[in-house]
Every structure is written in structure tokens, then in C-alpha cells.
């Protein structure tokens, strides 16, 4: 995801910043028939030259417009009254009525708080673990052992969320393994899935199980780029393994850590809607219900499309602001940005 900002120079040189020193013959490879001397071409020339390439764009762009941009515009129903059977874009303007509705809705604020807590907890617990695991893998001398650990810990990443929730139900049920362990310790069994106070723990644990292994990939890649000579120099200076880790390995991973952290902060409100939807039940709503599941019930179970769209739009806008600010911070701090 992370991309270095200094993108390779485009073949085309923008008019205006043509360096004086550049010889005129420097770009025969990129200069194509139909280009004006300034390196730009007109649309008619571009179409004549590249029409086959443009046909490649037809279907994808049509798809983008219909399945991405039309729904974006469809959000106008947040400000319009929607009548089932009427226009997808609603019938009449009602201004900010639906926005006001959710701002005054205590349930909305409860699910908003739940979303922040669940997203924050996930970030706090799940983010550091891949770094730790990567460091631990890095200390292994047997390549075979390392490979085996990687293969095993990547596996959960490829499981459907339905399967993961199935595992959660099986392990935490009254006759499941977790309760057997509790009983063998002399504790009372707990009906975890029905207890609101356990929801966050279960949710975050399942995230740890599924994502931590695969999350090491980028860190392990960063580790391979650290120059061996640094370690040699450190050893000659008498640094022990811990000091080598602290002064060489961690600084070597820092850019990756910072970029991923910022990206994660940018998306932390996007808690796993599908997982929550599968895992929660009315007994656990008080901690489990998040913005996306609430708007799902409001919109698709109760049929208040406009109200739900208003909530969805609000959530999407917060997400957008978070991502954009995270990206701006990232650009500033480490010179890496998403685009």
C-alpha cells in the first residue's frame, strides 16, 4: 500500500520546466507521431493514435461509473425523502432533516462510541503484534523452522469471515475448549457470545488470530533490506543481540512501521462490519453494535433508507477525513503517501 512519493519522472516533460541544459535530441524515444513540439498531443491526435488502448478503457470506466460513482451520487437520498418504488435518488428535498435525526438519536451516539472503542482497541492490540512476531522470526537461525512458522501463521488470513466466526462460536460455546479450560481451573463456564462485556475481547482476539501472521510480511521484507555490515560493525563494537535489535533492526523497520501505523489510524473506524454482523446478537448490542451494523438494521431491516444513507454518508466522510489527514501526516513525516 505504501508508496514512495518521488515517483519516477514521467516520460513527458511538462512545458515550462524544460531544463535549459537538456539537448533537443534527448527524447526521440518518447516523442511519438502526432505530438506537438511541447510534448503534448491534442485529443483528436491521441484518439487516432491510441484508439485501441481507449477501447480497453470502455468497460472498466463504464463499470466504475455505474458501480462506484452512481452509488456515490445515490447518497443524495440522505437529503431527500425516499419512497419505495420511487426514484433511487429520492423524491423531494428535505434538507438536513435526517442528519438532525441521527444527531439527536441516542442509539447513534452509542454505536458511534462503540465504533471508536472497538476500532481503537483493535488498533492498539493488533498493530504492534506483527512487529513483535517479525522480530521473533528474525532471531530464528533455522530457515526451515522460520518458513514453517510463516506458513502456519499466514493461513488464517485466507479464511472467510464466516469460518472465523464459526471458530469463535465453536471455541467459546459452553461446551467449547475455552470453557473446558476455565472449568479445569475451577472457574464457572461463561456463555461468552451472549455476554456484552466479553464481545470486545472476543472480537479483538479473533482479529489477532486472523491478521497478525500475515501482517508480518511487510516487516520481514523491511528486515531483509537491512545491510549485514551494520550488524557486523555492531558486533565488532561489542553490541549484544538486544542492542543490535534496538539500534539496527528497529530503526531499519521504522519507515515501514510509521507508514503502516498512519494508514491504520486512517482506517481505524472501518471496523469489520461483516464480522460484527455475524458475531453480535441483541444481547450484546450494548457493546457490539457499531455504526455500520446500526445503519444496516435501520436501512435494510426497518426500511428507513434515507436515514440510513445519512448515517452512512457521515461515516464515509469521517473515514475520508481520517485517511486524508493520516496521509498528509505521513507525507510530512516520512515522505510516503498513498498516491
Amino acid at each position: 500500500m505504501a508508496r514512495g512519493t518521488p515517483s519516477p519522472p514521467e516520460a513527458e516533460v511538462a512545458p515550462g520546466d524544460e531544463p535549459a541544459a537538456q539537448p533537443v535530441v534527448a527524447q526521440p524515444v518518447t516523442a511519438r507521431a502526432g505530438q506537438r513540439p511541447d510534448g503534448r498531443s491534442t485529443w483528436s491526435l491521441a484518439l487516432r493514435r491510441d484508439w485501441r488502448l481507449y477501447t480497453f478503457l470502455l468497460v472498466p470506466v463504464l463499470w466504475l461509473v455505474i458501480f462506484r460513482y452512481v452509488p456515490m451520487l445515490g447518497n443524495v437520498i440522505a437529503f431527500r425523502r425516499f419512497r419505495p418504488g420511487g426514484s433511487v435518488f429520492g423524491d423531494e428535498w428535505v434538507g438536513l432533516r435526517y442528519v438532525q435525526m441521527f444527531l439527536e438519536d441516542p442509539t447513534f451516539w452509542r454505536v458511534f462510541t462503540n465504533t471508536v472503542i472497538l476500532g481503537g482497541l483493535t488498533l492498539l492490540v493488533v498493530f504492534p503484534l506483527p512487529i513483535l512476531l517479525a522480530l521473533m522470526l528474525n532471531e530464528l537461525r533455522s530457515r526451515r523452522f522460520k518458513k514453517a512458522v510463516q506458513t502456519i501463521t499466514y493461513l488464517p488470513h485466507f479464511m472467510s469471515v464466516v469460518i472465523v466466526v464459526g471458530f469463535v462460536f465453536q471455541l467459546t460455546s459452553l461446551n467449547g475448549t475455552v470453557n473446558q479450560v476455565l472449568e479445569s481451573l475451577g472457574l464457572e463456564p461463561v456463555a461468552f457470545v451472549q455476554r456484552a462485556e466479553w464481545f470486545r475481547t472476543i472480537y479483538v482476539s479473533s482479529e489477532v488470530w486472523q491478521t497478525v501472521g500475515f501482517g508480518t510480511i511487510l516487516y520481514l521484507a523491511a528486515l531483509t533490506t537491512i545491510d549485514d555490515q551494520l550488524y557486523e560493525a555492531a558486533r565488532i563494537d561489542g553490541a549484544n543481540r538486544w542492542q543490535q535489535t534496538w539500534h539496527i533492526t528497529l530503526p531499519g523497520m521504522r519507515p515501514t512501521i510509521v507508514v503502516l501505523l498512519i494508514l491504520n489510524i486512517g482506517t481505524f473506524l472501518a471496523v469489520g462490519f461483516e464480522k460484527v454482523l455475524l458475531m453480535y446478537n441483541p444481547l450484546t448490542y450494548s457493546t457490539a453494535d457499531v455504526i455500520s451494523t446500526y445503519l444496516y438494521r435501520v436501512g435494510l431491516t426497518s426500511g428507513s433508507f434515507s436515514y440510513a444513507a445519512a448515517i452512512g454518508l457521515f461515516e464515509a466522510l469521517i473515514g475520508l477525513v481520517l485517511v486524508l489527514s493520516a496521509n498528509a501526516v505521513s507525507k510530512r513525516l516520512v515522505g510516503a503517501s498513498l498516491w
Binding site: R3, M136, L137, E139, P156, E183, W242
Partner: protein, 306 residues
């Protein structure tokens, strides 16, 4: 450890520094580290082991909470029941069809789009890339999408599953950056030999991009195989549902969350769940060891330069 070489050249230093004995503390650390990693592997695999154990156990032992690592009261009647459950196999077949069709559509759109966008001289390229990138950060949301699919009349059709999620912008950018690094000389040579853009793309570029194409196919196929929510939203006809939804209905019935599935909670034994889950994950686990490296490559491709 002291080297006997009067002039320590680099290889000697290397030999010495890499053979320095571990301090006792570090030896302890290495042992602890290995033990912790083995434990992590065990915890990662445990749900799968437990699943297999439950799938082959009899209901009584499961309900008594006595099935952990291996089957108790070995029993295949649930397998027999599932094997004879037409709904399960219909849904399983649906999953296969949806995965194949959706992956095919995704690949056609992704490769052609990425190829066109990888041509730096293409006029309007920045605009089209921008159009794509915007969708990574802002999307229409649940309700407008739902209304759109309803309006198209796609509810209870395969199109609701295979078309609206055809493009992953992330996969597309990976593909685009791969094509950007494709040696231009090869394409130019093919053009001189008289191939059109179509010919170059189909007969030169794609055949030489097999690894990245395979990676993309895997990414898409796994995500479609695992997907359940679009089907949950748009396919109310049980005969059209994918197997993930069959599973979801089992889970919902067992936890009492969904009455709409029409299954008696009593008959949904823990081992029926286990058997259905097992049969669903088997294809992924079976191919996983062979394709794992492609996934890793895919992630690296996406991160090194997107």
C-alpha cells in the same frame, strides 16, 4: 575469541563475529523464543484441529464438552447427512460457479484497465487513474448500492454477486505498476512485426506476465470463495446462495440470532456446523501450501511500488 591473523581481513572478521558464542542470556532467549513461536503455531492451528475433531465426533461427546484435539465417539453420520443434503451441494456448486465467473470478469476488467493505465503517454491517463483512486477512499455505502442493485433488477441473479465487486482498486494498482515495468522494447518489437495493441497485449504482454496474473487470479478467487455478504443482501432464494451463506445460516440458527433460516435450532448440532465448515475450508487449505508464495509476492509487489 581472538583471531590469530595479524591483519584481520573482512572474511576473518566475519568468521569470528558470526561464531562468537551466545551469552547465556541470549541462549535462554532463543529457547524461550522458539517455545513461544511453537505455541503461536499451536494456537493458530488449534481451531482447525478442533474443527476436524468435532466433525468426526458424536454429538454426545461434543455437548458434554469432551472434544478437543481428537475425535471422541468416532462417527460419520453427520458427513453422511451433509453428503445427502442437496441444499449443501447446490450451494457449494453455486460458490464454485460464482468464484469462476466473478474471477473471470475481474481479470478481464483488471488486466485491460491496468494495461491501458500503464501507458504513460495515454492522454487522459491521470484522470482515469484519479477516477480509480477516488473509489479507494470514498464509496457510495451500503444503502445506495443496495438501491442500485434493486433498481437494476439484479436481486436473486448471479450478476449481483459477480459484477458489483469485480474490481479491487488495490489489485488494479499492483497490476498497473507491473505493466509499467514491462520492457517496452518487447512491445515495440511486436509493433514493428505488425501486431496491433490487441495483439501485443494478448500475445506478448499477457503470456509474459503469467506470475502476476496467477497472483491476481488467486487474490480474486479467494475473496470470491470467501464472500458471503453480497449474497446475504441480494440472494434470498436458497437455491442461489453460496455455501458461505449456508454456513452463516447454520451459525445463526445455532446462536439463535436468525430465525429466517428456518432450521430447528435443536437439530443444528455442533458437529453439523463443524462438518459444513470443514468441507468449505478444505479447498483453500488444500491449495494453500502450493500458492502461498504467490500471495506473498502479490503483497510485496503492491507495497514496494504501488
Amino acid at each position: 575469541m581472538v583471531t590469530t591473523n595479524p591483519v584481520p581481513d573482512i572474511s576473518a572478521v566475519r568468521a569470528v563475529t558470526t561464531t562468537i558464542k551466545d551469552t547465556p542470556a541470549y541462549t535462554i532467549f532463543r529457547v524461550v523464543n522458539a517455545v513461544v513461536l511453537v505455541t503461536i503455531c499451536f494456537v493458530t492451528l488449534y481451531p482447525f484441529v478442533n474443527l476436524v475433531a468435532k466433525a468426526f465426533s458424536s454429538q454426545g461427546y461434543i455437548l458434554a464438552g469432551e472434544v478437543n484435539l481428537w475425535p471422541r465417539g468416532f462417527n460419520l453420520t453427520t458427513f453422511d447427512w451433509v453428503f445427502h443434503d442437496e441444499r449443501f451441494w447446490t450451494n457449494y456448486g453455486n460458490t464454485v460457479v460464482y468464484t469462476v465467473v466473478a474471477t473471470a470478469i475481474s481479470m478481464v476488467i483488471t488486466t485491460t484497465f491496468a494495461y491501458a493505465l500503464s501507458k504513460r503517454h495515454l492522454k487522459g491517463r491521470a484522470f482515469f487513474v484519479g477516477m480509480l483512486v477516488v473509489t479507494m477512499f470514498f464509496n457510495g455505502g451500503l444503502i445506495p448500492n443496495y438501491l442500485l442493485i434493486s433498481e437494476l433488477g439484479w436481486k436473486n441473479t448471479i450478476w449481483a454477486i459477480v459484477v458489483p465487486n469485480a474490481i479491487s482498486a488495490f489489485n488494479l494498482l499492483v497490476m498497473k505498476s507491473f505493466f509499467e515495468n514491462f520492457p517496452a522494447e518487447l512491445e515495440e518489437a511486436a509493433a514493428i512485426d505488425g501486431l496491433t495493441t490487441y495483439g501485443i497485449f494478448l500475445r506478448v504482454v499477457l503470456p509474459l506476465s503469467k506470475a502476476v496474473v496467477a497472483t491476481m487470479i488467486l487474490f480474486y478467487a479467494v475473496s470470491f470463495w470467501n464472500s458471503w455478504f453480497p449474497a446475504f443482501l441480494y440472494l434470498s432464494d436458497p437455491d442461489l446462495q453460496p455455501v458461505t451463506l449456508y454456513l452463516r445460516n447454520l451459525l445463526a440458527a445455532a446462536s439463535g440470532a436468525g430465525q429466517e433460516s428456518g432450521m430447528e435450532a435443536v437439530q443444528i448440532g455442533a458437529n453439523l456446523q463443524a462438518v459444513a465448515m470443514l468441507l468449505t475450508v478444505i479447498p483453500i487449505i488444500a491449495i494453500y501450501p502450493f500458492v502461498q508464495k504467490y500471495f506473498v509476492t502479490g503483497v510485496m509487489l503492491g507495497s514496494v511500488k504501488g
